[in-house]
């Protein structure tokens, strides 16, 4: 009637035109030496969301990360020593902000590494299934959540935004149609700034107006 209680995080970022997930190499049985989602036990007097924030801070060095609960996984056979219930969360970070952090190690985790979502290794426990669910959730929410903008820097080009959409939806989009749609969203701000450091025509930068976004979706 009691169960162990952990949280696991599917931490996404966007880099080199691809969605990536941060995985940890386990240094503990079961599944020693396997790759797994970062996660850990929730403390007795700790709120679940605080535990997620704690893990995210430990893994990425960042606070106030976008997070969204996916589901609870509680299979009796998930762990050989009896039920360990895990609540899976999805988190989104900007690669720029985490790239230069020193990956922490610990007794139970040998290293952290970003994997492209189409080059994932074999995974411990039911973590493959959790990732599958997170990808579906991300796909469904792409047009009515802030997800794409959580994955991009605050100033981004429309091409970058399109690439994020394409990575999440896992299909190519038409450039002109995409821009037409984007223009009608009403919560993107065209800046008077341009991309720098590229050896070709610099693209205009845009920013995301979260207030306007929230206003739109609160009316429905």
């Amino acid at each position: 009637m009691q169960t162990h209680f952990t949280i696991d995080c599917v931490i996404f970022s966007f880099d080199e035109g691809q969605l990536k997930i941060l995985l940890a190499e386990r240094n503990e049985y079961p599944y020693k030496d396997w790759w797994a989602l970062p996660g850990y036990f929730v403390n007795k007097y700790e709120e679940m969301e605080d535990a997620v924030a704690r893990i995210l801070l430990e893994m990425t060095g960042l606070k106030d990360i976008y997070m969204d609960q996916l589901a609870a996984f509680a299979g009796v056979k998930r762990h050989p020593e009896g039920r360990i219930l895990t609540v899976a969360y999805m988190a989104l970070v900007q690669m720029e902000e985490v790239k230069n952090k020193i990956a922490p190690t610990s007794s139970y985790m040998r290293q952290l590494k970003w994997f492209s979502i189409d080059e994932l290794p074999d995974l411990a426990f039911d973590h493959r299934e959790i990732i599958q669910l997170s990808l579906e959730r991300l796909k469904k929410s792409v047009t009515y959540s802030t997800a794409p903008y959580e994955l991009l820097p605050t100033k981004f080009t429309l091409t970058q935004l399109q690439q994020v959409y394409e990575a999440i939806l896992n299909k190519k989009l038409d450039k002109r149609n995409f821009r037409k749609k984007i223009n009608n969203l009403g919560y993107l701000k065209e800046l008077n700034e341009f991309q720098k450091g590229v050896s070709y025509r610099a693209a205009k930068l845009y920013s995301f107006d979260k207030k306007k976004f929230l206003k739109q979706f609160s009316q429905d």
Copy 2:
């Protein structure tokens, strides 16, 4: 590092043109005499889904009920005696099938009663929040899940179907536009049967072709 583990069910049905939820009157502290979602502890060696099925059978007398996990609720302060993690599920039943069951009672539950969703009593714990979430989930999924058909008898009229949509979406729909859309779904079967026992023109009956439905949604 361990927690109590329960499941709670938001059991919906459709009756008298309204969505209804089955609630239990508690006979135990805390929240003695309050109304609450039906739920109970998950046994040590019992799969979570089996526990849900067990509760649903107990409350409705039915097996093989549609169920869908909503989310985990794990607030430290949910229960005065310490964390009780609950995984909330949404279930959908046909009122006809449960109407004549004898509502069970037990030491911890005084009675069961169906409440219309806009006449809910005060609720124990965070159950109001759980119901809120279930309503939003139901709304989002109405067009791409089998939800409307789980709430209706196997043979139903288009007016009944429209009423279910209206109850879920909480708004009136135009009859002609609704029927036009429904006609294009491709997974409804027009039967050569008519409503009986009404004192006005009898409406044609339709049935839901789950196979066709699944085929359509597996291609996306």
